[in-house]
Symmetry: C3
Subunit: 255 residues, 3 copies
């Protein structure tokens, strides 16, 4: 498995690639964490899109590695807490907006990655599920928290206890994805979403993400509250209001 | 902008009015807080309906005032924490059931007001969104908490990062509104909802609201738990059970 | 009213029965608590299905008993906290997956039972609501917490303040049920769900349930986190992974 990272100006595209419908191996989990830590400190980035090669998002963690990488209590716990969790945390903690672009299998670890993104655009072909009870294991705590950031507790029970695979329309109806489009229209839908994100001020996006994290983690401290107004004297804030009042489009500098 | 308040027996109707599709200015935010504090202490009220004039709910805060009222860190923070937040808190904290009746634009501060109500009845014409990133700012902490009382974190990300405008059917599907009806049927739908509320005991409604607030704010103290049974020896409780057993309609006195 | 309990190997079927569309009396609430405590300690059980006799799930608590069992502050509080709540807690705390099979009325205490189950399969005939404000009372704290484990706060407001009855499709759209099927297909749908649960390892299901409870109750302690990996060296975990890699179906022993 490999991870392809492409840069188009302020847009980064990350592609999951590899055998078994892009099953994610240890090296790729590490690479995801590393790349997203790099993205975090690059303020020229406006948006990141994660997708998968050859018609699938990702079919889950690479089970072919389990016998060597994940086979007793110590290695199982290490695998989930030191291999998978850091990648999910790096994606969820990324200061820039992150879009999952989902076709085909979005299963297990693939669904966990998608749940760690801000937005989930799916093709009608997409399939969602976590059928790991059939492999004899339950979901690791950090991964369950990632899932619960977009799935209701009732939906998490359904996915985990039944191991059901949901098609795109059921996943949409149950709140698991942002939007579902015809298979041929996914690229255009994601491009339009990126354009909408780019039409806003970068600092506003970052503060919104930080504040949403603080509130949903019950951690709205006085400092987090104050930081919610960090945009107030920024050039982009002045430009945004001035442009609105002058009925013209704003030009944001990111400052 | 002005706020029109009408009283029809136990029903109060509040209407947002003014230029720019009922954009809400500082005076109106203050008036909303003041009126809802007054409603809170009037136990003859059974239900409050908030709507907007001329085919729109409200297009948001009045940006024309920003240059004088909201232009540097101190005034921005004052505007959000001392002007907008008290109005949203007064609505959300109202002991009586509050219905938002929504046509046309329900944007920014308008959506925050709607999210602070108990129920949201929308016309097919309604449009929902918070495109403030295009104005160079992020959502204030108290307002984000109001939004998150009805929007899932995933929906809040979509609304804030993309600045997307949702039509009524998408808003309904994503849980943002209680019900959507054809444009010509909104008055009748709200009237029917008011009648259903009036068919219940007033004290039951108030205790339900208080208890929901305690539970959703992780504050179910022993006192809040005990207060959940305050109806037990009320005349209306005895009347409700007696009427049910006698197969007749109850007559509630509010005591 | 009576409670019928049948055992089919690893499957337990519980049926609510009685007059007034299976209204639930004090004896039945006690029997529910007792039976579910018994199920909890029986590790041969894989799944429990709760349904109702004669085309209804349950129409709520048995109001005919209120004058003798629930008539002043002390008895009202006792009824809710020592009669109903223990039954709901026993269902919600059951270590095995629990499915509600819902036809017809699923009202009041019936809806609270359904909300305490892991999965809710409903017939198109099902109707959901809590019209207790018309009886002059509000929802007890423990019961409201049960409802909020599947209903959003906005939906709880709608159900409690309006007392509206939702049909199956609206309940599904609002996230209150897992699946809705044609009336004649409910048995087959539940049988298929049971089969999917049985295709997973029992220990995985129990750990998933325990961990979901810890996370949703903000109680992911170090011990709860560690217990999330209790499956690691189980025979079923080894069998599940080995079977997957050998492309055969696993045979789980429950150990």
């Amino acid at each position: 498995m490999s991870l392809s990272v492409s840069r188009f100006g302020p847009l980064v595209e990350v592609e999951l690639r590899g055998p078994h419908h892009n099953a994610i191996n240890v090296a790729t989990w590490h690479a995801l964490a590393e790349e997203f830590h790099r993205f975090a400190s690059d303020d020229r980035i406006r948006c990141i899109v994660i997708g998968g090669a050859d018609g699938n998002f990702a079919a889950g963690a690479d089970i072919a590695e389990f016998n060597t990488q994940r086979h007793d209590l110590a290695s199982v716990r290490h695998y989930h807490e030191n291999v998978i969790a850091p990648a999910l945390f790096a994606i969820a903690g990324c200061p820039h907006p992150v879009i999952a672009k989902i076709e085909g299998f979005c299963i297990g670890g693939g669904l966990e990655i998608a749940a760690s993104c801000d937005l989930r655009y799916a093709s009608e072909s997409a399939q969602f599920g976590v059928p790991i009870a059939r492999l004899g294991f339950s979901m690791a705590p950090d991964e369950m928290q990632a899932l619960l950031s977009v799935a209701s507790p009732a939906l998490a029970r359904e996915l985990l206890l039944e191991g059901r695979i949901l098609d795109a329309s059921e996943a949409y109806l149950k709140g698991l994805v942002t939007s579902v489009v015809a298979a041929g229209e996914l690229d255009a839908a994601v491009t339009a979403a990126v354009a909408r994100i780019n039409a806003g001020a970068p600092l506003a996006a970052r503060i919104n993400k930080r504040l949403l994290h603080a509130i949903t983690h019950h951690n709205l401290t006085a400092a987090a509250r104050a930081a919610g107004f960090d945009y107030a004297e920024s050039a982009d804030h002045r430009e945004g209001v001035a442009a609105f009042l002058a009925r013209r489009s704003p030009t944001f500098s990111g400052s």
